[in-house]
Amino acid sequence: MARKLPSKNVVVIGLGWTGSILSYHLAKAGLDVVAIERGPWRDTATDFPPAYAQDELRYAIRLDLFLRPAQETLTFRNRADQTALPIRNFAGFLPGNGVGGAGIHWNGQTWRFLSTDFRLRSHLTERYGASMLPGDMTIQDWPVSYDELEPYYDRFEKLCGTSGKAGNLKGVKQDGGNPFEGWRSSEYPTPPLKQGLGATLFAEAARKLGHSPFPQPASNLSEAYTNPLGIRMGQCSYCGFCERFGCGNYSKASPQTCVLPALMRLPNFTAQTESEVLRINLDSTGKRATGVTYVDTSGEEWEQPADIVLLCAFALFNVQLMLISGIGKPYDPDSGQGVLGRNYAYQTTSSVSVILKDKVLNPFIATGAHGMMIDDYNGDNFDHSNLGFVGGGYMGAGQTNGRPIQTRPVPKGTPKWGAAWKKATAETYQHAYSLSTHGSSYSYRDCWLDLDPTYKDRLGRPLMRMTFDFHDNELKMSAYLTERLAEIAKAMNPTEMQAHPRKGPYDSTIYQTTHNTGGTVMGDDPQTSVLNRYCQSWDVHNLFIPGGASVFPQNHGYNPTNTVGALAFWTADAITQLYLKNPGPLV
């Protein structure tokens, strides 16, 4: 029997990006806020100080900062006719753990979605006709527009101090920026990062072929910066330890470097760590959340009553907690009815590797988000009329590291071990570079999340089950994008190049991205969404999922974090400006 704690105005589940942003704004607005986080407290000096933050084995291979599958995992299968089996060791994607969440280990790539992405189905139907879309593709328009979200993108970028070059300032094109991006109300908070040789050669080749390369927007800062909360960040040192690592330099944006020092000062905020929320509790009508029940490290259960519940866990676990709490109708792929777990999507990535024998590339001088990119083949920036697919992605030269356990390219045909392997490894490392595409993943009727019938977590709750595979549309898109990237690679005059378009089936053992999206989609219609346009539950009005990637109706050709952050600010405003004045359904 859970013991009851004193009631709070707001209980926040998970203290990552969205949890810390919402906690700060609601506590600032005078509400009494408690955030419950299942992992440990984390800070730079204790968990990833520069004395040993650059430890590839510990952080990138043994996954020190990530969720342990023993704590929580999920089951996976490609198709409904298979038996889903547990992911016993995370590999294909890596959920974070602890205060800061995925905001600690991300690369810092800080993209906005295109304005047409927000009305995807309408836009594609208007331009190409409904017959262009596969019958089982379940993409839908977002319930917010780019114009509405722009000020919130701006706020998240200013929170992070994002480094970059605008391509479109209030509708006026800017040289050197991304000519395809939506309008921006202001220039990036800090100038672009410096570029190494690989990215510079790519940009020259891309320009020669008529494309418009620009520096990738990065929340790994080009210079010291003080954000609007008064928190000071340092300059990036290009150490090449971003993805899978915490930043020891206070130069990669994270809840630790951008929010927590201000949040923790607020007397009406409490962080309750190493405590896992078991379920969201509802009153007898099922229309109102009464709080949450969590379990502490001794196994004892506590009920935390609250007026407002904010579900801010990692995307996949937002879905699991909603399913376990019985909020919303679970999706049934046979009938197409139900919403919870519907429209799970991912990302379709690919690469082209080049060897430039006469160049010294110093691949270890890197950040998670520097590099030069083109956006010519993203979203609907190019004519799809005769291509047989929809969607696209950005592409370019943004190799994130030269850490040699994982980044050790060799020419094609090299044996995997022995003297020939050793020689090739020694001769190639300094002269190889990897180019990549970052493609969209649209949603489909047969890709979804539900509860597993067999496997349980350590607390006896069913694991979540993922059913996902790449569809022809995405594989054709990846083939097309990879061909375009290979054309640019060829113009770099490589000694050797290899193109690796994405092939099916989706393989959960090969790392691609941790951009798991959908499952608690936001939308205009309760028949096809879990949340309304304010990230508020259609069923339980005092429950919000403020912008975790589980709210994306499909995934676009960009990294999700900037949109996640923008939606967090958007929801914070909706709660403080609308909901608190008149608690009830906002739509």
């Binding site: 704690l5 992992g39 440990p40 407290w41 800070d43 204790t46 100080p49 004395a51 650059q54 590839e56 084995l57 291979i61 020190d64 342990r68 599958p69 023993a70 704590q71 298979q82 038996t83 889903a84 089996l85 547990p86 992911i87 016993r88 060791n89 753990n97 570029q195 040789l197 510079t200 990036c236 040192s237 290009y238 150490c239 090449g240 923790m264 409490t270 309750q272 760590t273 190493e274 490290t297 001794s298 196994g299 004892e300 010294v360 110093n362 270890f364 001088i365 850490r403 040699p404 356990i405 050790r408 995997k416 071990w417 022995g418 050793k422 490392y429 349980k456 989706y506 959960s508 053992t509």
Partner: protein, 250 residues
């Protein structure tokens, strides 16, 4: 006697790795951590990696160690490019890893049922890396003993050893009750990890792996070198432990 710092570290590790071991308790406070109006930080609470020290094998028997040392020296042979896997400490690295959390599959999801699946679903077997090495090395020793008139793997010539390793790699030789291909893949992966991981873990001795490719290691600051295109970075590698020539000569 455990100082408070060690105890903090242990409790932290325990929670991180085995999630939570539930104890029966009637305490009236929440067990977890309640943090209010502070950025909690304690001096010396950081959790640096423990340095692997030379010494007796922690996991391998002496026969197993002889085989592994022979294997890592064929996977990464000593030659003009630098030391081989044995001198670089790859066997020591694997030994210490198998004696630690990695060897025990600590933190992984190990609940039954175990069912065979498709390759896209990942490893589905209860055996931990430590168990897989123990069984794999035994099966290899038996196989070699039978086919090479009683000789042990490390007593064979380099060419003979390579032949066996190639046969394990492509699955053309069968080991009793062991998936030869998967066993080989695991040994190769662990050997290369040891060769390129920070020397603090016992492999990559004298930064042999990093010197082979030109990786400067744990330097952490390249601001002056980002735009020096096409120039080789001039400084030698450094480990989390520093460099041998930084230590006092006294």
């Amino acid at each position: 006697m455990m100082d408070s710092q060690t105890s903090l570290r242990l409790s932290r590790r325990l929670f991180l790795t085995s999630a939570a071991i539930f104890l029966t308790t009637s305490a009236s406070v929440v067990h977890g951590r309640t943090i209010q109006q502070e950025m909690p930080w304690a001096p010396g609470a950081a959790d640096p990696p423990a340095q692997v020290r030379p010494g007796p094998w922690a996991f391998f028997t002496s026969d197993e160690a002889a085989t592994i040392e022979a294997i890592v020296d064929r996977l990464i042979p000593p030659d003009d490019h630098g030391p081989g896997g044995k001198d670089a400490g790859c066997a020591v690295f694997i030994d210490r890893q198998l004696a630690g959390p990695y060897g025990r599959s600590e933190g992984l999801y190990t609940r039954p049922p175990f069912m065979p699946g498709s390759s896209t679903q990942g490893y589905q077997n209860p055996a931990s890396p430590a168990g897989r090495y123990r069984n794999g090395l035994k099966a290899l020793a038996d196989q070699v003993g039978q086919s090479r008139s009683g000789k042990a793997f490390h007593e064979l010539t380099a060419a003979e050893q390579d032949k066996i390793l190639s046969a394990l790699e492509d699955g053309s030789v069968k080991l009793k009750d062991v998936d030869a291909k998967a066993f080989f893949a695991m040994v190769l992966q662990d050997t290369q990890q040891g060769f390129f991981a920070d020397p603090i873990y016992g492999g990559n001795r004298d930064m042999a792996g990093w010197k082979l490719v030109g990786f400067p290691g744990a330097r952490y600051d390249y601001r002056d070198w980002v735009e020096r295109h096409n120039e080789s970075y001039p400084l030698p590698p450094v480990s989390i432990m520093g460099r041998a020539d930084w230590l006092s000569k006294g």
